[in-house]
């Protein structure tokens, strides 16, 4: 029995992480370049393969063939550890994301943990070590400044990130991401309660704190993944390349890919928590309960739905990046500590009041 579980988990790891998420990372790099080009009235990479889709492969080859240079003045051990520490946690958080309902009677989640969001926050907060180690081990001024900025930024926004999920947990009374999605599939997505039990005064009233949560969660996710309105740790105009200035070749690529992997996992989490995960809107093709048998094609549709939502969210990430200018550092800290922290706390109280009164 045990080895069957292990093999099933291994297949899910290989398919979800290595065959879907990593190519999605490469594709999102391509999408970033094409979309930014379209926004700026350019063309973007369109030479390698159809529509330039193989550009990511060419980039990967380039990274592999470049000289992997380690400067003399760095702390070698930490310097080598840092890129892995940014990439690995991002991929580890894949474990608890339910990327589909069921396929051939097997739950489409690698580890069906009962503490999903907690696990994600615990692992994702390790990413900060990668960046801080990179900045400090580089032993050079720009990476150091980038590292310092990353430390305070990521630690500050983790608070509002965690607090923004609390109302959701209060409403569903559940920390298992699979069950949260199941609940949303039956009774309306957190932000779209238009069917099932969600179609009621209570459901509509609860969308107010959930919408505030969603905004705080999304913005904090931008800050956590160092995406553009908050990309102060690397900000080219001030710090050359920030924490990865001293890196080259594949070690640089790991930072680069880690950022995109974190972006994909962040989108996946946002989709799972607020936009109904793998479920189709209006309760279409929703299984009766978590244990009911569903045909394989419905399972595939659910997986496709999840990734369609994630890709949509990634495109949103990209458009935001090419729309907004970078925040100033004091504005960033003010936004995190003075606004989001308080609003998220108040939001928790508001949710509690609504749940108590209605």
């Amino acid at each position: 029995m045990d080895w069957q579980i292990i093999i099933a988990a291994a297949i899910k790891v290989v398919v979800f992480v290595f065959l879907i998420t990593l190519p999605l990372v490469a594709m999102s790099v391509w999408a970033e370049r094409r979309v930014s080009a379209a926004i700026q009235d350019r063309v973007g990479p369109n030479r390698v393969g159809p529509f330039g889709l193989l550009q990511a492969v060419a980039d990967g080859l380039k990274f592999l063939l470049k000289e992997d240079f380690t400067p003399d003045h760095v702390r070698k051990g930490y310097f080598w550890l840092a890129p892995a520490l940014t990439m690995v946690p991002a991929l580890l958080t894949c474990a608890v994301l339910p990327f589909g309902s069921k396929l051939f009677g097997e739950k489409m989640v690698i580890a069906d943990l009962d503490v999903g969001p907690l696990f994600v926050f615990a692992i994702a907060s390790l990413t900060v070590y990668g960046i801080v180690l990179a900045g400090w081990a580089s032993n050079s001024k720009y990476p150091f400044l980038g590292g310092v900025r990353a430390t305070s930024q990521m630690i500050s926004y983790e608070i509002s990130l965690g607090l923004s999920v609390v109302p959701l947990v209060m409403i569903y009374g559940e920390l298992n991401l699979g069950n949260i999605v199941m609940e949303q599939a039956k009774n309306g997505w957190a932000l779209l309660p238009l069917w099932g039990e969600g179609l009621s005064v209570k459901g509509f009233l609860l969308t107010i704190p959930l919408f505030v949560s969603f905004i705080i969660f999304t913005v904090s996710m931008f800050a956590e993944t160092n995406r553009l309105p908050f990309d102060l740790p690397e900000c080219e105009t001030e710090l050359v390349a920030g924490y990865h200035t001293e890196y080259s070749s594949m070690k640089f690529a790991l930072f680069f890919l880690g950022e995109y992997a974190a972006m994909i996992i962040g989108s996946g989490l946002a989709v799972t928590l607020f936009l109904g995960g793998w479920s189709l809107p209006f309760g279409w093709l929703t299984p009766e309960s978590a244990d009911s048998v569903i045909p394989w094609w419905v399972g595939l549709i659910h997986i496709a739905t999840f990734f369609a939502k994630v890709i949509g969210f990634i495109l949103f990430f990209i458009v935001i990046r090419w729309t907004l200018p970078r925040f100033r550092y004091d504005q960033l800290m003010r936004l995190g500590w003075v606004f989001f922290f308080e609003i998220a706390l108040f939001n928790v109280v508001l949710t509690a009041l609504l749940l108590w009164l209605v």
Binding site: I39, D41, V43, V319, I320, T323
Partner: protein
């Protein structure tokens, strides 16, 4: 004296950032949609699309030798272009025309005429100085080669680029 720039007083909804984000996204998404639907023509895809027909008459591309309407080479190997060429890209070795040749009344013709296209700066002085109207700057600009030797245009290549040019020739026209 320092000038104080008043910061605008923002209304509360302006301080929310969200309307500004929406306005910004309207601009970027507008460009995105126009670009994807092909309404903005942005970049010419170079090797496939070229601008050749729009090149002006005075465009200075690769220098080339021309023949006249009787297929006689116009160059008389006076070497003026060789001497005036600022980067010394032109090499000419003159030879005498044998007396039984059809064009024997001309004294000289180039035995070797080479232009080193790595050196050429496309200044057009050779065209300007030529008393025979034998060398012209054509509209060819994509001069490529895989070795230095390949980048030296010899006589055959120069005539191939130049072709025949019909028009006034000062001295050696048969009718004169």
């Amino acid at each position: 004296m320092a000038k104080v720039v008043e910061r605008p007083k923002l209304k509360w909804w302006e301080q929310l950032y969200l309307p500004a984000i929406a306005a910004g996204m309207r601009v970027t998404l507008g460009h995105l949609i126009k670009n994807i639907s092909g309404k903005t023509k942005v970049t010419m895809q170079y090797p496939e699309e070229k601008w050749d027909e729009h090149l002006p008459e005075y465009y200075r591309g690769a220098p080339a030798l021309v023949t006249d309407e009787q297929d006689r080479e116009r160059c008389v190997a006076c070497q003026l272009c060789e001497f005036i060429c600022p980067p010394r890209a032109i090499t000419i070795k003159p030879e005498e025309i044998p007396s039984d040749d059809k064009w024997a009344k001309v004294e000289k013709r180039p035995k070797v005429f080479e232009i080193d296209m790595i050196r050429c700066i496309y200044c057009g002085l050779c065209e300007e100085v030529c008393p025979e109207q034998a060398i012209y700057l054509r509209k060819d600009y994509a001069i490529v080669g895989t070795s230095r030797a390949e980048m030296v245009h010899d006589q055959d290549r120069l005539y191939e680029i130049g072709g025949k040019r019909v028009g006034l020739v000062n001295k050696w026209n048969e009718l004169k």
